[in-house]
Subunit: 443 residues, 2 copies
C-alpha cells in the first residue's frame, strides 16, 4: 500500500525549495512523544524494524515520477533528485520494546537536510502506530501476566497494515499470539482461532455443530458455547466429550463471548470440573480491555485466556500519541521550535537510564550527545550510510528482551491508575543552557 | 499489504469443517453497526468501492498455499479449495456516502457458505474503517460548511492503508482535500501543503525562510507563521509582500498552528487587512476536531480553513464502531444469534427510507426483503456472480451525492450534541414475527 509518495505534500514543496537554495547541510531530527496521555504511565517503543526497512528501500518508481511531472509545479530539479533518491543517512534509536517517557527521543535521523526531511511523514506513521499499540498491549500483559492473551482485532483495526502491525506490536510485548493469519505468516507469530457464531448457526443444532467441528479438528479444539445459551452449550460439549474421547478426539477449551463473563466462567468451570474435564480451559472474549480483564481476575473469575480485539487494535482509549519528528540541529547549529506550548529541547540528545539495585528503573536523564554517560545510553546506532549496522533482530528475541524491560518498571508505574508521582526524566544542566543560548541567538 | 491470508484463522478452520460436511448451501450475511456510540448522531457508509475490489480480486497465491501446507493441520481438500477460490456471490449495499443508523444492514453478501464466511474479516476491516472516518469527517463538514477542510493526519493514521483511506473517506463527505500525496495520486483528491516548522528553523532567519519559499513557490503559497512568534511572523510576511508582489510573487495564506487560534486569527486578520492583503486567507491547524472548530467559528474567529490531523485520521473520540457481519440465513432458513445482549434480527432484510416534504429523512423501516417498498430501498444490487453490476462510480460523483445526503439530515441530527430524541428506525411487524419464529425453532 505504501510507495514513496506516501508522504505529506509539504515534504515535496520544502524539498523543491531546499534544492533551489542548495541546502544540503546535515540535519538532525529526533522523534519523540511530547507528553504522556492520561491512561499511560509509560510507553513502549516499537516499529523500528519497519522504519529501517522503509529507509533502506525508499525509492521513487517511474510512474510516481511521471505523475509528479504531470501535476505541474514540481521542478525538473526536484523530480531528477527524487529519481535518484536513496536514503544515505544514519539512524540512532532505542531498541524495540524499550520503555520510555515524554520528551525522550526514541529515534534520531542524521542526514543531508532534504533526506532527513522527506522521510518524516512515513517514519512517524510507522513508529507512532506500533508504539501506540505496544504501549496499550503492555498494560494488558501487566494485568494478566499468567493468562494467554490473543489479538482478535483485525476486523476493526484501521486497515490492513494496522491489523498486521498491531498483531506484531502485541506479540512483541508479551501477547501469546494473534488470530490474523497473515501476521502469523509474515512475522512468525503463533495463531489462534476456531469458530464463529455463524458456524453454530449454520447447523441444525448446536450439538451437531460441536460434533462436526471436533471431528474436523480433533486435537484440543476450542468450542464457542454462547450462541444460544452459555451453560446449555457447555452441557452439550460435556455430553459429547466422553464419546468423542474414545475416538481420540479431545476438547481443548470453551470460549465465552457474552453476558457476565465472571459469573459464566465460575459456572462453566464447575460444570467442567464435575465432568472430570479439569484440563479443558476457559477462554473469554467480547469487548475486553485491560480494565475489564483486571476486574475479572480480581473477582477470581477462572479464566485462562483472553481474546482482545477492538481495544487492542485501535488502542481505543488512546488511539494516538503526541508523537513528533523535530529538527534539532542543522549545519552544526542547534535549532529549536518555540511555538506557544510546543517548544522543544534543542540539539542532538541522548537518554541515559540508571537502574536501582533491584534492577528497576531509577532515573532517566535527557542530555546532550557527548556528555558523560551514566548508566545505559538508550539510543544506539542502527543504520549508517543508509544501511543497517546489524542484522534485524528476531521478533522472539525482542519479545524476551521486552519481558525483562517490563520487569524493570518501577512498581508505581505497573498498575493501571495514574501513579501518585508521575515518572519525570531529568534534563541535564548543559541541555538547559543550550536551550537558553538557542533562544538568544534565534531572531 | 493485504493478500488472501489477511483474515482470521477461524475462517480457515471453519471452512475446513464446512468442506468436510459438504455445507455449500447459500448463506446470507449482513454487515451492520449494532449501536450508535455516544458522539455520533448518524453514520455514513463508506468503503464499498474497496470492498468490491477485494471481492473481485480475492485469490490465493502459490506461496500462501505453500505456507498453509507447511503449517500442518489444514486438509488437502481445504488447500485445493483455496487454490481454486474466486468469490462468485452477490452483494447488495447502500451507496457510499449514505447516512445510516444502528441495526440497518449497509451491505449484504449472498454466496455459498464457505465463500460468504471467508470474506468476513477483510470486508469488515475495509468497511468499518472508512465508515468510522466518514462518520467523523461529516461532523466536521456540518460545523464548518463554508471552510476549506484539509486532511493532515497521515503521520498519526494507523499505518499506510489507514492514511490513504482516511483521506478518501474525508473527501467523500466534503473535505476539500488532503496533504497525503499518494491519496491524491490514487484517488484524484486535491492536495494541500506547503511548509513545516523545520523549514523555518533550517534558515538563519524566519524572513529568509519566507522569502526563499515564496521564490520557490511563487503562486499563492501559504506561510507557516508561528515557529517563533505568530504576529512577528505575520509582520515579516507583510513586509515581504509588496516587494515580492512587484516580481509577480503572491502570498496566498498564512497558517497558524499554536496558541489561542481565535485571538491570533483576529490579530492576524487585522494586520493583513491594514496592509491591504484582504485576499490573503488564514488557515489553522493543531489539535483540531469538530468541537474546537465549532467553538472557533462560534467565537467569530476569522479563519478560512482548517487542517485536521489526528482527530480525523484516528476518529479519536470514537476510533471503532460496533460493526459486525452476521449470518442471517442459511440454506433458505432464517438464522439468528441469541447471545446475551448481542441478539440480531434474522432473515434477509432491506431498509426503506421515506422523506418528509422538505426532503429530510422522515423515517427508516428495517423490513424483510420482499415486503412492499415504501420510499427508497437503500440496499441495491452491486455485484452478481462475483462481478460488479455497474462500473465503479467516480469519487467526485459520490461526493456530490453525499452533499445531498447531508442536506437531508433532520435538523435535530445536524448538531454535535446528542439530539433530544435519538433517531430510531422502525422494525416491520413481519420481521418481528420472523424473529419469534426463529427463536421457537432453534434448539
Amino acid at each position: 500500500m505504501s510507495g514513496a509518495l506516501l508522504t505529506d505534500l509539504y515534504q515535496l514543496t520544502m524539498l523543491q525549495a531546499y534544492l533551489e537554495e542548495e541546502m544540503h547541510g546535515t540535519a538532525v531530527f529526533e522523534l519523540f512523544v511530547r507528553k504522556l496521555p492520561a491512561g499511560r504511565n509509560f510507553l513502549v517503543a516499537a516499529g523500528l524494524e519497519q522504519a529501517l526497512d522503509y529507509l533502506e528501500n525508499l525509492s521513487f518508481r517511474d510512474e510516481e515520477l511521471a505523475w509528479l511531472r504531470e501535476q505541474g509545479g514540481f521542478s525538473k530539479r526536484l523530480i531528477d533528485y527524487l529519481g535518484d533518491f536513496r536514503f544515505r543517512g544514519s539512524v540512532h534509536a532505542m531498541a524495540e520494546g524499550t520503555v520510555f517517557f515524554a520528551d525522550e527521543p526514541i529515534l534520531r535521523v542524521t542526514a543531508p537536510l532534504p533526506e532527513a526531511q522527506l522521510v518524516e511523514s512515513r517514519l512517524l506513521n510507522i513508529i507512532h502506530f506500533q508504539t501506540v499499540i505496544a504501549s496499550k498491549a503492555a498494560r494488558m500483559v501487566l494485568v494478566a501476566p499468567d493468562a494467554l492473551l490473543v489479538d482478535f482485532g483485525m476486523r476493526r483495526a484501521h486497515g490492513s497494515e494496522a491489523a498486521l502491525l498491531a498483531a506484531r506490536a502485541a506479540y512483541l510485548v508479551g501477547f501469546g499470539g494473534t488470530a490474523t493469519v497473515e501476521a502469523g505468516r509474515r512475522f512468525g507469530i503463533p495463531l489462534f482461532g476456531t469458530m464463529a457464531h455463524s458456524y453454530v448457526q449454520a447447523h441444525d443444532s448446536e450439538r451437531a455443530a460441536f460434533e462436526a467441528f471436533l471431528r474436523a479438528w480433533p486435537k484440543r479444539s476450542t468450542l464457542l458455547v454462547d450462541t444460544y445459551d452459555t451453560e446449555a452449550g457447555v452441557a452439550k460439549a460435556i455430553d459429547l466429550a466422553p464419546r468423542l474421547g474414545r475416538e481420540g478426539i479431545s476438547l481443548g477449551a470453551v470460549r465465552l463471548d457474552s453476558g457476565d463473563l465472571a459469573v459464566h466462567a465460575r459456572r462453566v468451570r464447575g460444570m467442567l470440573d464435575r465432568a472430570g474435564l479439569r484440563e479443558v480451559t476457559i477462554f473469554a472474549s467480547g469487548s475486553l480491555d485491560e480494565k475489564r480483564i483486571a476486574a475479572l481476575l480480581a473477582e477470581g473469575a477462572p479464566l485462562d485466556g483472553f481474546g482482545i480485539g477492538t481495544a487492542l487494535d485501535t488502542s481505543s482509549d488512546v488511539p494516538a500519541l503526541d508523537a513528533v519528528y523535530k529538527m534539532q540541529s542543522y549545519a552544526g547549529v542547534a535549532r529549536r521550535k518555540r511555538s506557544e506550548g510546543k517548544a522543544t529541547w534543542p540539539g542532538i540528545k541522548q537518554v541515559c537510564r540508571s537502574l536501582a539495585p533491584d534492577g528497576t528503573i531509577a532515573s532517566d536523564v535527557i542530555q546532550l550527545e557527548g556528555e558523560p554517560v551514566v548508566g545505559q545510553a538508550l539510543l544506539e546506532l542502527q543504520m549508517r550510510d543508509g544501511r543497517r549496522t546489524t542484522p534485524a533482530p528476531l521478533l522472539s528475541q525482542l519479545r524476551a528482551d521486552h519481558a525483562r524491560a517490563l520487569r524493570a518498571l518501577p512498581p508505581g508505574l505497573r498498575g493501571l491508575p495514574r501513579p501518585r508521582r508521575a515518572y519525570r526524566c531529568e534534563i541535564s544542566p548543559k541541555l538547559r543552557e543550550l536551550a537558553q543560548e538557542v533562544d538568544k541567538a534565534t531572531p
